[in-house]
């Protein structure tokens, strides 16, 4: 009774979705249960099921489904923060695509993603592979590397501002050892993005490391020993035995990291304010500025939808590509 898979419910889709989202817990209460084994009890449970799911369903509908639909509508309107709204069709999207800053911001975001995601994955996978169960006190290492991922990002960024500042830790160290000034990382056209990426990798890789570490622990010893008996080097063992075995975890982590990295905001916002100029301004900061500095919520919604579509597109490509390298046992 508990093992019903989601696929089996597919035929009944449309009608029930509308009923459920509109008024969970009311319309469905008296429906019959086709595969009922114990009819009286099932009837009672049908009512209870809808009632139990109702608070969460209503909340989710109100605060996620409604806003997402509303934002699509708003993106087709001129919607200043204060004052009236008018329907303008695709005007917001046209303005967006005509705005040179928008394209700069898209490029910056892409640059960030292209630098951040591989670095994050390499560092986290490398350390996870290193922290085998044979490493002494490895749970301490795991905890240390995990600290920045669960502490307030704002606090971590503030510290890194101090490291990157002129006369900050990095600059002062260079001055006293090499007698030379470090670049002014956050105000330098070429360094600013790298500075943002480096800070972000430091703050973010611990999460993926933990996922990989747990996945590696689950690889059966027998497989590894078999490879070793065949004379495989640790390197080959990793790529030919461990890597395929944990590829589903790597796929999951890559997806999550991609999705979140497209939404990067706090690090550049607090490190550089998007500067120098617009060198490190990202899509979410552009959306934020458009909506809350320039107070054009319609235009900002259009920007948010572009971001959403980009993320959906990347996710879809990932899913299509996974057959080539992800091995599910």
């Amino acid at each position: 009774m508990t093992a019903v898979t989601t696929e089996q419910a597919a035929p009944a889709e449309e009608e029930v979705v509308t009923v459920e989202v509109a008024a969970p817990g009311t319309a469905i209460a008296v429906d019959e249960e086709p595969e009922a084994r114990r009819p009286a009890e099932i009837g009672r449970r049908t009512w209870w099921g809808a009632a139990f799911a109702a608070p969460h369903s209503i909340g989710l509908a109100l605060f996620t489904v409604v806003p997402i639909v509303a934002s699509l509508v708003v993106s087709f309107m001129n919607w200043p923060m204060i004052g009236g709204h008018t329907w303008t069709g695709l005007e917001n999207y046209r303005r967006l695509f005509d705005d040179p800053i928008f394209w700069v911001v898209v490029r910056n975001t892409a640059e960030y993603v292209i630098l951040y995601v591989p670095l994050n994955l390499v560092v986290s996978l490398g350390l996870a592979a290193w922290l085998t169960p044979r490493i002494r006190h490895r749970h301490i290492f795991r905890v240390l590397f995990f600290i920045p991922t669960i502490t307030p990002l704002v606090a971590n960024v503030v510290v890194w501002r101090m490291l990157y500042q002129p006369d900050g830790l990095i600059d002062a160290t260079l001055q006293s050892t090499l007698g030379e000034h470090a670049p002014n990382f956050l105000a330098d056209d070429t360094w600013a993005m790298f500075a943002v990426v480096a800070m972000s990798v430091w703050a973010g890789f611990g999460y993926n490391m933990l996922i990989f570490s747990a996945a590696l622990d689950a690889v059966p010893d027998s497989q590894i020993e078999a490879a070793q008996l065949d004379g495989a080097s640790p390197w080959r063992t990793f790529w030919h035995v461990k890597f395929p075995a944990i590829s589903p975890s790597i796929f999951f982590a890559t997806m999550m990291t991609l999705i979140t990295s497209f939404q990067v905001f706090t690090q550049p916002f607090l490190l550089t304010k998007g500067g120098p100029g617009t060198e490190t301004e990202t899509l979410v900061q552009y959306i934020y500025n458009t909506g809350f500095q320039n107070q054009q919520l319609g235009l900002a919604s259009a920007g948010a939808w572009v971001l959403f579509v980009i993320i959906l597109g990347i996710t879809a490509v990932q899913f299509l590509g996974q057959k080539r390298w992800v091995h599910y046992e």
Partner: protein, 289 residues
Amino acid sequence: MSSGISGGGTRTTGAAPRVRRAIGYVILCLIALAFMAPLIYMVATSLKPESDTFTTPPTLWGSALRWQNYTDVFSYLPFARFILNGVLVAVVGTAINVTVAALSGYAFSRLRWRGRNVVFLLFLATLMIPQDVLVIPMYVMMQNLGWVDTVQALIIPWAFTALGAFLLRQFFLTVPQELDDAARVDGAGTVRTFLNVMVPLARPTLAVLAVFTFISYWNSFLWPLVIVNDVNARATIPLGLQAFFGQQGNEWSLVMAASVISMLPTVIILVLLQKHLVRGIVTSGLGGR
């Protein structure tokens, strides 16, 4: 994590591999130290007199250990207010989320009702929507409700995220059906079965969900930045830190002390509950940023 050194580690007893392993371990410790440097520096700076914060060559300790920074923070910023707001928002938000998720997770796994699987698919679909994308429409909605710059606006919009339902459903699916049946034979109805049998069993899972929900409220920055106007009265810690950071010519040592305080609750949670957190992350992808 618990397997320790049980693996076949005693195959080679020669000196060379042992030396190599020792060197590797030293390198690993150095990497960990380099990784921790910003955090160590943060703690050190938080204890320096302000005049010692930028020095060349850099020093770890200032001319005096100034514990007073940690009390000064509370007059430099309305920091007590930020902490109070942060705790209130995170605790209420977590309580709501855990409650609705326990109910819906049970409904999605142990109860049969028309449309169950479709609604569950819808729940899963909402997980695909990045929270940052929701910020603009959520703001419009708060405007319409008249909730801009209110405490409930910090809590309610994110109290119904679907992840908890997914997590609890996974858990309840593992509970043997006999337990339900036994409770029913004893004459317990659905509500009593849920409250007296299922909730106690689910306590560890509920705890994991609660911890992660708490942390995500506690750390949240973009939404408070958008929805709070009166920072002094309604900011949570990240927003408060940001708002005062850069003002009044940067009292770095105080800002660092505030940062340390803001990290303490989650670091304590991490140290105390690491096993449970790891399980939550690994089984359900909780806590991803």
